[in-house]
Structures are given as structure tokens and as C-alpha cells.
């Protein structure tokens, strides 16, 4: 093993090394070119469609989402559900466990755009960073609860029901960070008063609406029936559709901003 030459033991390896060297010479060629602020952001941005596809797939793969599981189900029903759908629950949740934090790069693109806003202080940027990590971590906790329930579906039905409850409560009620995030963004865009604002003004109002749409889900613990229950119209459909719309719309808005920044950056270099 030790005697093996450093280069050339596999074709793929040579290819990688060559690519790195080419990239290095490109960077070295222009010594004045230190760091373009928006460099590489397009790469981050174009991961988003892939992430969206995985999320959608996981969403439909999890049998508890398409027809949301009822909080009124008895312990035995819940246990039966986990026994019957063990595989689908496991694979969908493993997918979501992998990719739930993939929202953070999108949020960081937003945070980088906020640098260009006509603000006096970075306070609102810090606010968004402060909540950006917590929402995906809350979702991560959810997947852990559901995976735990599916890990041993033959355990006492009451325990499976408990883990299922914990998962659903975390999933449904765990909106505080998303609500605050929308609020901070709405405020930030509202304060961005300049000739060429970073984001169009309607994005502020859009964020406000999304934030308000998420709020009712926080009350899902109060009832097991009706629109506010975790399988209800407001707490499940309105909330999750709002999150989906937010991700899509903000991706498009940020995508535009990244493109124009990139064009401006290329112009400056030329």
C-alpha cells in the first residue's frame, strides 16, 4: 500500500487532480481576483431543485402525510399503522433526516442578499441566522421520533403512540422559528428603501402572509378534532402548503437576485 505511487493508481483520481490543478491555475491567473462575493452561489442555488424533488418524494412516500394520520386514532390503530407501513416510514424518514437541513443553504443565500439591503445594522441578518438552524433541527427531531416508532413496531402500542404523538407535535407545532423568520424577512425587505431594492416590495407582504398562515398550527395541541387538529385543514394543509409556497417563491426570488449579482460580478471582472 505504502509503495503505491501517489498519482496514477486510478483513472478517476487523475481526472480529479487535473481538474483541481486547472482550477488552481485559473484562480492564480488573476492575482487581484481574491473573492467574488457571489461566487459559487449559483451552485448552491441549483442544488435546490434536486432537494425539492427529494422532499416531494419523501413527502409522498411517508404514508402518514398524504392522508394525514389522525390524532383520534387509538393506540392499537397507530401500532397497526406502523406495523403495516414500516418500510415506507423508515425510508421516507431516512430521506428527510438526510435532507431536512438542506434548507439552510437557501436561507444563507437570503442572508447574503440581506448584506446588500439599505440597513444601518446587521441586526436583522443576525436574527435570521439565529432562527435558521432551529427549524431544520426541530424537523430533524421529528424524523427521529417517527423513525424510533418504526424501528420496533411490535413494541407496546401505547409506546408507539407516544412516539408518534411526539413526532406529530414537534412537526406541527414546531413553527416558531419559521414564523419569526418570515417576520424578520418581511421587516428587512420593508426597511430596504433604495432605488434598486434587493427584493421587490411584494416579497415583504408575501412573507408576512406566510408567517400569519403558519401561526394557527401552533395551537394544534389544544384539540384533536376540527381544522386546528394536526390533521386538520389549517394545521396541516395550510401550514405545509404555506411552507412549500414559501420555499418555491423565495427560491425564485433569490434565484433572480443571485443571477443579477452574478451578472454584475462578471461585468465588474470584465
Amino acid at each position: 500500500m505504502r509503495a503505491r505511487p501517489h498519482r496514477g493508481h486510478s483513472l478517476g483520481h487523475i481526472g480529479t487532480l487535473d481538474l483541481v490543478e486547472t482550477l488552481l491555475t485559473v484562480v492564480r491567473k488573476d492575482a487581484s481576483l481574491r473573492r467574488v462575493p457571489s461566487s459559487g452561489e449559483r451552485v448552491i442555488f441549483w442544488t435546490l431543485p434536486a432537494v425539492a424533488v427529494i422532499w416531494l418524494a419523501a413527502f409522498f412516500l411517508f404514508p402518514g402525510f398524504v392522508r394525514p394520520m389522525s390524532p383520534r386514532a387509538s393506540a392499537t390503530e397507530v401500532a397497526t399503522f406502523y406495523r403495516e407501513h414500516t418500510a415506507r416510514i423508515r425510508y421516507s424518514m431516512i430521506l428527510l433526516n438526510w435532507f431536512c437541513v438542506a434548507l439552510i443553504p437557501l436561507l444563507m443565500l437570503v442572508v447574503e442578499r440581506m448584506r446588500g439591503m439599505a440597513h444601518r445594522t446587521p441586526i436583522l441578518r443576525f436574527c435570521v441566522i439565529g432562527v435558521a438552524g432551529a427549524a431544520p433541527i426541530a424537523f430533524l427531531t421529528t424524523t427521529v421520533f417517527w423513525l424510533l416508532a418504526a424501528f420496533q413496531p411490535e413494541r407496546a402500542p401505547e409506546l408507539t403512540q407516544l412516539l408518534n404523538d411526539l413526532g406529530w407535535v414537534t412537526f406541527t407545532c414546531g413553527v416558531p422559528f419559521l414564523v419569526a423568520q418570515s417576520g424578520f424577512l418581511a421587516l428587512a425587505i420593508h426597511f430596504d428603501r433604495q432605488e434598486q431594492p434587493v427584493f421587490p416590495r411584494w416579497v415583504a407582504h408575501f412573507n408576512l402572509v406566510i408567517g400569519l398562515a403558519l401561526i394557527p398550527a401552533a395551537f394544534a395541541g389544544l384539540t384533536k378534532t376540527g381544522v386546528f387538529a394536526w390533521d386538520g385543514l389549517v394545521s396541516f394543509w395550510v401550514k405545509n402548503v404555506a411552507i412549500a409556497i414559501w420555499i418555491i417563491v423565495m427560491s425564485i426570488v433569490v434565484g433572480h437576485a443571485v443571477e443579477s449579482d452574478h451578472a454584475a460580478g462578471a461585468e465588474a471582472v470584465a
Binding site: P71, H119, R120, T121, P122, I123, L124, F126, C127, V128, I129, G130, V131, A132, G133, A134, I137, A138, T141, E158, L159, Q161, L162, D165, L166, V169, T170, C173, G174, V175, P176, F177, L178, V179, A180, Q181, G183, F184, L187, F191, I215, A218, F219, G221, L222, K224
Partner: protein, 256 residues
Amino acid sequence: MTRRSLRDNPKRELWLAWGATVFFYNLYAVVFFLFTHIQPPGQPWYSPDQASTWFTEHHHGLGIGLALIFVFGGLSATSIALITYSIRRMSVSRAFSYSYLIIYSVSAVPGFLFICVALTAGIMRPERSPQLQHWLYQLGFLSFSGTMGVFLIGSLIWMCAILLDGNRVFPKWFGYLNLCNALTEVVVSPSWIFKTGVFPWNGLIAWWIDVVIFGIYTGVFITLLRSMIIREDFGTGPLPAVPAWRFWQSPVETAP
């Protein structure tokens, strides 16, 4: 104040964050003491049946109070952001401010999300077996009182920044008060071990004395952040000293 004065005020972002901080801590106190009766805490030595009864007795207060935390909990980020800003204004490396920001934003999940989730799950099914209700009860209180390291290290980072700072953003005595606050996180640790006496999660030493110190600490830092915003000149050098008479002046100033 008029609409115009707020819009032109260069410190409006700071004042909004400060106002949100005040709102958040007041809401926290109201929810925990008045609505949910999470404070004063339930007894750590409760039997499963007693824990189960505790959930049914506090059903409505817990439901509404915890829902309010689920709605507004994210506002905790405003105080974190403001403190991060204050550390950035100091003459120390930005590593301090970013460490503080990350540590405290991580703290949100174990610090208040766990107790809200556990107790909400508890009130949703009063008919659940008392053994499981008991487990939820303990998960709630222990995760709330027993989330220690993030606040310990966070306070120490803020302390170091204040003591090393040459821009007199905060008085040095507040740096030492951070040490007192950090030590309360050491003192609360026996709550993982005891169910009775003065050291459990509702104990006189492990809980109540710490709550008083934390209350003083919070009141002091909110006041000092206010004074920092008043003195802020958006420069990089030392912050101007605050004359005593201006300290209590109306927070909104005209733009320079």
C-alpha cells in the same frame, strides 16, 4: 413619536430588536407563571398518578400558554442578535460574536422546544397510561432546567468579550455578572440527580436562587443594551459615555 421620526431613525432596527426582546421576556414570564403554571415547577417526586393528574389539572392553561410560546418563541432570536451586535461593536475579534450567535441559536431547541413538545403531548391524551405521562412530565421539566452547557459557555464568551473590550460597550462589572450567571448553570446540575430537598428542579438552591440571579441578569442586560443603543454612534472606536440624565431619556432620537 411620529411615523416619520421612526422611519428616519438610524437606530430603528436596534430599537425594534430591543422592543421585541422586552416583549419576549415578558411573555415568557407571563406564560410560565400565570398560564401554564410551569413556574413554580411541579413536584419532581410526583408518582405517575400524580403526574397524570397534574396534566389534567393544568390542561387549559398549558394548552394556551405553550401555543403562545410556539407562536412567539422565535423572537428569542432578537435578544441573541442584539447581543451579537454588541459583541461585534467591541474591540475584540468577531469570533466571539459569531460563537455567541451560534451557541444561543442552538440553545432554542433543548431550551424551550422540548418542554413545549413534551407537555403538549402530555395534555393531548389525559387517558394515556400514567407511566408514560410521568415520563413526559419529567422530560419536560428536566430538559427545561437541565439545558446547561449552551448557556454556561455562552455567558462565558460574552464575559470574556466584555472584559477584553476596549470600546467600553458594557461596564466591566457586567462582565463579572456574566460569570455569576454562568455559575448558576453549574448549580442547577444536581436537578438531574435529586427529587427532594433543595437540589431538584424546583429546589430552593438549584432552582429558585438561580431564577432570582437569572432575573437580575436579564433585567440588567436589557437595561444595558438600551444604554448601548442610546450611545451607539455607528463608529468603530469607543462608545461615548452616557450622561446620567440621558440614560432615562426617551429612546427615540433624531438622526444626526
